[in-house]
Symmetry: C2
Subunit: 439 residues, 2 copies
């Protein structure tokens, strides 16, 4: 039996998660020497491999050093694995791009040979290590002063890996995430930088570093960079305005701290999952706005999740075309093929249907308020990891639902669907066409 790419991805991820869950459920993985229980271990392993960061138990308080380092490795495998695997599988197969296949960097790196594959993989690993190494160095400068030499260096490495892979796991303890460092420029800027670069996707980083001229970049890279800057700036302005006078979030900070915290809170929903201010204390409008950002997420082929910046951009441009009665969807003087636009809208609608269905089920299984349920669902789907605090109190059914949501959110509903589907059939018989009145 020959596995199709989507099936390789799904089975590969599932295997890593299961192995991770078994190891994390060992007593030696827990600080207390008592097993955390298989469901909680499965939750943690899924959250780590899918670089989500939602936690049912506090990482620092619950897990031993062995458990913590295992989680770090799961994050690295998950982040790197997804980046390389999605990139490679489709390049190796060299499939023609259709509505139902993912295009990965065909334009950026064409004519791939086996030598090219090895080179590409090496390039991706090298890039990852450079970013994580630099991040770990700068973070250690601060953490050594807080936690001492060894623990400080260890914390630098762990949080650099967690940030570049958009995982959002932390070792600060008691579910506090990075709140103790809310006004620390060094920690904030390094973490934000790692998140942003990790969320661009390898092909864009490659494009930018080799071409160095915006006008000559691939259309994909241009759209990713434009949307990223737009979402970061808009996110900063909206959160700064909405939370400026909220005494429980930005209100009590210094002027510089306000700017830093609002910037961090615009970066992290896409889709890192760290936080420096108290999320449940944010205003209703700011929480809701954060849900939007989490849903959009990062860019394709990156360590981040969500429906992706480019998908959102195409949907916006599609609406713009309809409104202005244009025949084609055009961006930066390029015409986007209709099946490309169509795929973006299929992904968006599928993602929305999934988020809505899961949150409807959680509304039945959990006793929480609606905003918390929707927030947690989108956070899981977008592999974000921001939380209203209900995750540690989920029922078993709720945990299973969130585990499945993280998994399909990481691989994309489309990939899961393709993995489950039987092989593509070409219809023997074409039925006659007939229209339906819509809208």
């Amino acid at each position: 039996m020959k596995l199709r790419p989507a099936q390789i991805l799904v089975l590969g991820f599932a295997t890593v998660i299961l192995v991770g869950a078994v190891l994390l459920s060992l007593p030696v993985a827990s600080k207390s020497g008592e097993s955390v229980g298989f469901l909680n271990a499965l939750f943690t392993a899924t959250s780590a491999v899918c670089v989500t960061g939602l936690v049912v138990v506090d990482t620092y308080t619950q897990y031993s050093l062995f458990g913590q380092i295992l989680i770090m490795f799961l994050i690295q495998i998950g982040g790197l694995g997804f980046m390389t695997m999605t990139t490679l599988i489709f390049l190796i197969l060299g499939k023609r791009i259709t509505l139902k296949e993912r295009l990965v960097m065909r334009e950026a790196l064409n004519q791939l040979t086996l030598a090219g594959v090895v080179k590409l993989t090496r390039y991706i690993i090298f890039t990852t290590l450079i970013f994580e190494g630099l991040g770990a160095f700068f973070l250690s400068l601060r953490f050594v002063r807080v936690y001492g030499l060894y623990r400080g260096i260890y914390y630098g490495i762990f949080h650099a890996v967690s940030a570049f892979n958009n995982a959002g796991f932390d070792l600060i303890g008691n579910f506090r995430s990075l709140t103790p460092f809310v006004e620390d420029p060094l920690v904030n800027i390094v973490i934000m930088g790692l998140i942003i670069f990790g969320g661009l996707g390898f092909s864009v980083i490659y494009d930018v570093f080799t071409i160095r001229n915006f006008h000559r970049l691939s259309l994909h890279s241009k759209v990713v960079l434009t949307m990223t800057v737009f979402l970061l700036v808009a996110g900063f302005l909206v959160i700064y305005a909405l939370e400026y006078s909220n005494p429980k979030t930005l209100g009590s900070l210094s002027p510089a701290g306000k700017i830093l915290a609002a910037a961090f809170q615009s970066v992290t929903p896409r889709t890192a999952g760290f936080n420096t201010i108290s999320l449940p204390d944010m205003s209703l409008a700011a929480k809701y706005f954060t849900i939007f950002l989490m849903f959009i997420g990062a860019s394709p082929g990156s360590t981040g999740g969500g429906v992706k910046t480019t998908t959102f951009a195409l949907v916006l441009m599609m609406i713009y075309s309809v409104i202005t009665s244009k025949e084609d969807v055009e961006i930066y003087k390029r015409r986007i093929p209709m099946d490309n636009v169509f795929k973006a809208s299929v992904i968006t609608v599928m993602a929305l249907l999934q988020v809505l269905s899961v949150s409807l089920l959680l509304a039945i299984t959990e006793g929480a308020d609606f905003m918390s349920i929707l927030y947690e669902t989108v956070s899981a789907f977008g592999t974000v990891g921001l939380s209203m605090g209900i995750t540690p109190h989920l029922s078993d059914a709720g945990k299973v639902l969130i585990i499945l949501t993280m998994f399909s959110g990481r691989l994309g509903p489309l990939t899961i669907a393709l993995a489950l589907a039987s092989k593509k059939k070409t219809a023997m018989l074409k039925y006659p066409e007939e229209r339906i009145l819509v809208g």
Copy 2:
């Protein structure tokens, strides 16, 4: 200057609403003899013409007989006007159907001449009067016994008009809607019947009454009927199960009353807006499920709102095709043209974006909880009229937002967009194609 069809619709509706608002703000329209205020009158007129049923003031308590009858006329103009205008405008123009134009019954009634137009209009008015007349007669049988002869007959007519046009306005008083009649089979069955027939759309009613054989119906009619039955049955089962033991809704009713109330509560979100049980007392899951039903709404060219049953059906079938790796979207042995499917997904995404944006703004302007805000927004967008009770307490900004949402929900975001857009341009220059990686 020649107006385009979308502009005629938008300007026509706006004019009727403004005239209605001016009349309703006259002191003589109020029971107390004091004007209700222009903003409240504008809200009521918009709600009536857009057959929504959301109210900032109680219709019976606030408005004089003159005001009430005016509201009934606005409902009739709105319901009938939309049905005939959407049907006619596009038939008269005989436009080729593109992504950007609405198809109305081209298949059902082809080769339309001016004589045909007059005949069609007469047919629509005749059908409406038959349904409303029968409904008014049966409702009067009950209402005469409760309210006396004259008021009973008047109530029969008012509520028949309100139900067939999916308007949801009532004269029971104190925002109670039809709750006093929760266990009354006659009122329930007549109102449900009017809502369902009103929500099918004229072309389907015509099709069914002339052809009388499911297999020979147009594909459009088949899809409308299938989805309508499916949504009614599914809605009934879900609400019955979720609310069965809720003492504040179904729990306190007799076995037959439970069935009647659950049935009613599955019919009314699409998109009538009457209620027989207390909506704010429903469980979180049932409220959320109701939001789904409200969003989907009724069928195209009908008196109901929402994204429409056929739009939802096409989106579901599109996802099914992607999952099963089929090349085409097929329903009942017919292939749906790709631009038809594409339009359905554009409408869905536009509707979602609008609902999300409006509820985000309401989260800023109003002090209500998130579920109530989302519920009220979808209710306004789908011209449903069900309410968590926050509408009478809206801020002025909130009222304006809901007014705009009802208006664009009734005409469809696409129609509004087309009315605002400049004339269709054929691009002089085709840009080269380039793909973007999505999802």
